[in-house]
Symmetry: C4
Subunit: 124 residues, 4 copies
Amino acid sequence: MTPVIGRTRWAIPEGYIPPDSHGPAPAMTSHETACLLNAGNESANVLITIFFSDREPCGPYRVTVAPRRTLHLRFNDLREPEPIPHGVDYASVIESDVPIVVQHTRLDSRQAEEALLSTLAYGQ
Amino acid sequence: MTPVIGRTRWAIPEGYIPPDSHGPAPAMTSHETACLLNAGNESANVLITIFFSDREPCGPYRVTVAPRRTLHLRFNDLREPEPIPHGVDYASVIESDVPIVVQHTRLDSRQAEEALLSTLAYGQ
Amino acid sequence: MTPVIGRTRWAIPEGYIPPDSHGPAPAMTSHETACLLNAGNESANVLITIFFSDREPCGPYRVTVAPRRTLHLRFNDLREPEPIPHGVDYASVIESDVPIVVQHTRLDSRQAEEALLSTLAYGQ
Amino acid sequence: MTPVIGRTRWAIPEGYIPPDSHGPAPAMTSHETACLLNAGNESANVLITIFFSDREPCGPYRVTVAPRRTLHLRFNDLREPEPIPHGVDYASVIESDVPIVVQHTRLDSRQAEEALLSTLAYGQ
């Protein structure tokens, strides 16, 4: 019931929060999500570092994923040390002290009809 | 003709069954699918555990994939021990007693035009 | 210039050729593609086996990818030993005698606006 | 803050720059992107080779990713030794002298509403 599965270091090279949205918030607001799964029995202390094209990385952002829980983290919601700017290319590295699994999803509602993408992050 | 390929433990961190749909059911009903491939010569006995953000996991859900068959399992159709709620973040771990391969797909038809995402699950 | 990269056995659990299309053929015809890259200096002799939910697999379908070439193979175009039915769940295993890399893409134009999905296949 | 993560050889079998676009340029122009993340402390010297279905590969295209930076490279923007033709199937191999992580994304705006796909490249 509580298998340990995953890696402790993940990377998502693609990051971009669309600057505009159509449709009712928050479900249809353009957003980027890192879905974190902690299937184990210990809390996952997670550090997220954001990389940009033209300046030094910012972070770490700190989140905790409780044992046997998933956290679908919207990059839009990260506040400390600073919000991630919209309409800017970024990438992320996600490090955890216990194994987790990370998947990346974007909902883009800049136009009337949404578009979706998703991929597993690169785990190491 | 019947190669053995795959892993016995898979994870899909992203899970979300959209609460609404447009278009003719069942093809265009919003749904999440785990596509399971059992390319080998023995039945695959599969246990699925569903993880949530704010409560203990539920499961296991039990499915069997016959030898040399694929099962495109809609999470919407899981009933025992309980249906998966719509409009709620979840994640899944899929365990099999023989090697299988798992891919995750969502068709989102909340709006007039569908959106699709797909990714290989994380296999270990 | 001609690096060897890849694996010799790949699986794509998700397969479904949408039965309908909108828009000008062939670019906007609903289709499923296995993109094969043979970056090496020898021809890749490739065998594709198609798995179904309710009957024995069919195949092998045989294709050749020349050295230093990519082949974006539409499953719609497979004819021998039999065409793949539309509107039916399937999965595929792709075996090569030299390393190749395989990516899976679907263009779904059942509705007025297309939807796309893509993922790397599972390589072993 | 600057973890080393990644591989030095990556492949993206799927490549296709849609010949048409709708919507305001450059954000909504149909494009293919290779998102490169160099999370380490040394510059990444990257060589990209483009493979076609019916002629010899072209390249290498040369790009540099500075330490602790991400580069979201549009294939549309590659110029030397030659632009990549639109509406043609291609594939790519991306080699770096230090570990990087590569993700592939396409925005297709041939129709009024965009479609998105993304997947991690194959790393070796």
